[in-house]
């Protein structure tokens, strides 16, 4: 329970369905924890909200100290990957290592059967007891992307009660239950940032990741200087600070040279990517290439592609159309319609497929 609308309604739905529910909150590390600042996911305010809702629902409520492990794994991972030139997605890692490992283990040790969260996703039991992960019914809120890291043994213990509803439905339920959080804003992705500004965060916590360097064309001509690679996103056009006879876009980065590589619009985009650390939700690695819709960011539109498992465990994804924003560090998540098949972490674009 985060104190937000989704997890509160999730808890309420479970109580209504007759489950014996225990409310748990993870106290996550946040920059200004303990300073009384305006941090987000671990503020005493959120905590107070969650505790009051638990009390209103008549369930126990415990806060698990997750600060240390969260800082050592997720926050450090975030810093390290940026320093290595990637654009990491800490939510994927949090679900992999914290929520569905650390917290799930706590829940199981308390003799719980399931860990329920407020994610917009659904599970479905198929033949042979296999659990399928489906998109949330509300397409605009679907969060299966960040759950694509889950394996069968995690999904068997997972419940996503709000996945069968739309966000407006969930807000209405919160109002009907008189939960004091019905009108609360949706939470942000990077919960450990005091102000949502990851650039400032990196400047303070990982200054070595933000070094000025050259802006180069593909053929190595220097056009200017950048202020630090984490300040740019692939596909970005504005704010490069160079004048050129054509519009220039960020094509990629070269972490080894600390260089930002730019080019014209027709140089932008790739037909493919390579992803590592792949998770197959069904458990088995497919033997043959297959067609799928692939999301390359949480908010990206699914793009039609061919997914080819490689002998070393990685996958090659070849899109039907070129995509402009393939970003190393983000997840590439595979869908068959509403079903999430799994995903991996993008390691590089695949120019062989151009």
């Amino acid at each position: 329970m985060s104190g937000g609308v989704d997890s509160s309604v999730a808890a309420a739905l479970l109580v209504e369905r007759g489950y014996d529910v225990i409310g748990m909150m993870m106290r996550l590390w946040s920059e200004d924890c303990g300073t009384g600042g305006s941090n987000r996911c671990c503020t005493p305010d959120q905590l107070l909200d969650a505790r009051r809702i638990a009390d209103q629902l008549g369930i126990p409520f415990y806060v698990i100290d997750t600060q240390d492990v969260f800082r050592r794994t997720i926050v450090q991972f975030f810093i390290d990957r940026y320093a290595a030139g990637d654009t990491p997605n800490p939510c994927l890692e949090c679900n992999r290592h914290i929520r569905f490992e650390w917290l799930l283990n706590h829940a199981l040790a308390m003799d719980a059967d399931f860990l329920a969260t407020g994610h917009y996703a659904r599970t479905q039991y198929g033949a042979g007891g296999r659990v399928r992960l489906l998109k949330g019914l509300d397409d605009a809120k679907d969060q299966s992307y960040v759950l694509s890291v889950l394996s069968q043994d995690k999904l068997r213990h997972a419940l996503f009660p709000v996945g069968d509803y739309t966000k407006p439905d969930v807000r209405r339920m919160a109002e009907k239950l008189a939960l004091p959080v019905a009108q609360k804003h949706d939470s942000q992705d990077l919960c450990f940032l005091a102000d949502g500004d990851y650039r400032r965060f990196l400047a303070e916590h990982a200054p070595e990741a933000i070094r000025p360097g050259p802006i180069l064309t593909r053929d190595g001509r220097q056009l200017g200087e950048h202020t630090g690679l984490p300040h740019y996103t692939i596909g970005q056009r504005k704010g490069l600070g160079i004048s050129y006879h054509e519009a220039l876009y960020v094509l990629t980065t070269d972490p080894a040279k600390n260089a930002l590589i730019v080019g014209t619009q027709d140089e932008l985009g790739h037909r493919g990517l390579i992803a590592g650390r792949v998770n197959w939700i069904a458990g088995d690695t497919p033997l043959e290439p297959f067609r799928a819709d692939v999301k390359i960011r949480y908010k990206a539109r699914p793009a039609a592609a061919r997914v080819s498992p490689l002998p070393d465990g990685r996958v090659r994804v070849t899109f039907d159309e070129r995509l402009n924003a393939i970003t190393p560090g983000q997840g590439a998540v595979f869908y068959d319609g509403d079903e999430c098949l799994g995903g991996g972490i993008i390691t590089r674009v695949d120019d062989d497929a151009r």
Partner: protein
Amino acid sequence: MNTQLVYLDHSASTPLDPRVLDAMLPYFSEHYGNSLAVHSFGRQAERAVEDARDTVARVMNCHRHEIVFTSGGTESDNLALRGPVQYALTQGQPITLITTPVEHKAVAVTARQLRDTAGAALRVVPVDEHGRVSADDLRAALQNLPSGGLALVSLIHSNNEIGTRNPIPELAAIAHEYGAIVHTDAVQAPGHGPLDVSALDVDLLSLSSHKFYGPKGAGVLVVRNGIDFLTSHSGAKHEDYRRGGTHNVPGIVGTAAALELAMNTWPETAPRLAALRDRLVEGIMDRVPDTRLTGHPADRLPGHASFAFAHLDGNTLLMLLDQSGIAASSGSACKVGDPRPSPVLEAIGLGPEWTRGGLRLTLGHSTTGADISAVLDVLPKKIRAARQMPPSISV
């Protein structure tokens, strides 16, 4: 889930004794006057407050004028430190506060604040492995006090976290040799043994009513005659200008009733609780490996058992016990998920493998042998579970 609840957190709070409730009830909606008012309603309230003052003074062997009714232990501790310090400030005297690393936060935080705001010098006397102050260490802390200044020694009477009792009369005598005045936080003491202000030889003493089957939001500060005191809780002439604010008449009546009961009943209840406590301690020490009893093995509160378990998160254990219907607490417990190593366990010399693994089980009037059996049955299993809980994480 176990539906039979076992409450072993009497050091945190106790239920109101029904006899105390009966004494209080008329003062909510029947005799509701303000004790300062001139009319009959006021006189009635005033009489109740002054009768209560007589009772408290009698059972604690001090003068009625020395009793200040407060809102509880924290306020009493605050006033005990701030009152003498504020007076010293008006006189331009140098101020020295001497305390221990095992005080309740009401004393520890207030002392630090006075160091920062009133320019008080703060000296911290170490404690031994049981959490007790030795005569020699106190003597050492009393050396080279500035002349003509205020020196205030604040020592906890009975430790809330580890149950240890300090030899207050001996320590107070030493402090007085050096011209210091002495406060003792005796919040945990009533109902567990004698509490005689004159025998203790202290100048200030704090009590909290809900710790001895009285109401919450009520307490006592004893200020011995002759102690210079300028209140930090200013207002009208209540409590002889030592604590402003309309009297909490039901709370004051309840305080007196509860304290009198505690003083009359401890000779019977303390041995019973001590016997149950000893069974609990032996049972846990036998059944749980890597366990230490914290606090003094013998000279401790009779209903108080406290432990440190190596390589265990106390919060996790409390959560598992709550799920089994056992209400307990720990020194590092934190319901907002931000536990710190217990400063008390650190002060008695325990290493980092122990200081997050504190558990306090405190018995009270309603505790039965069956409760102890239930805990001895459940606790070892829950400790095994809690010790296994933090999984190894690798990215």
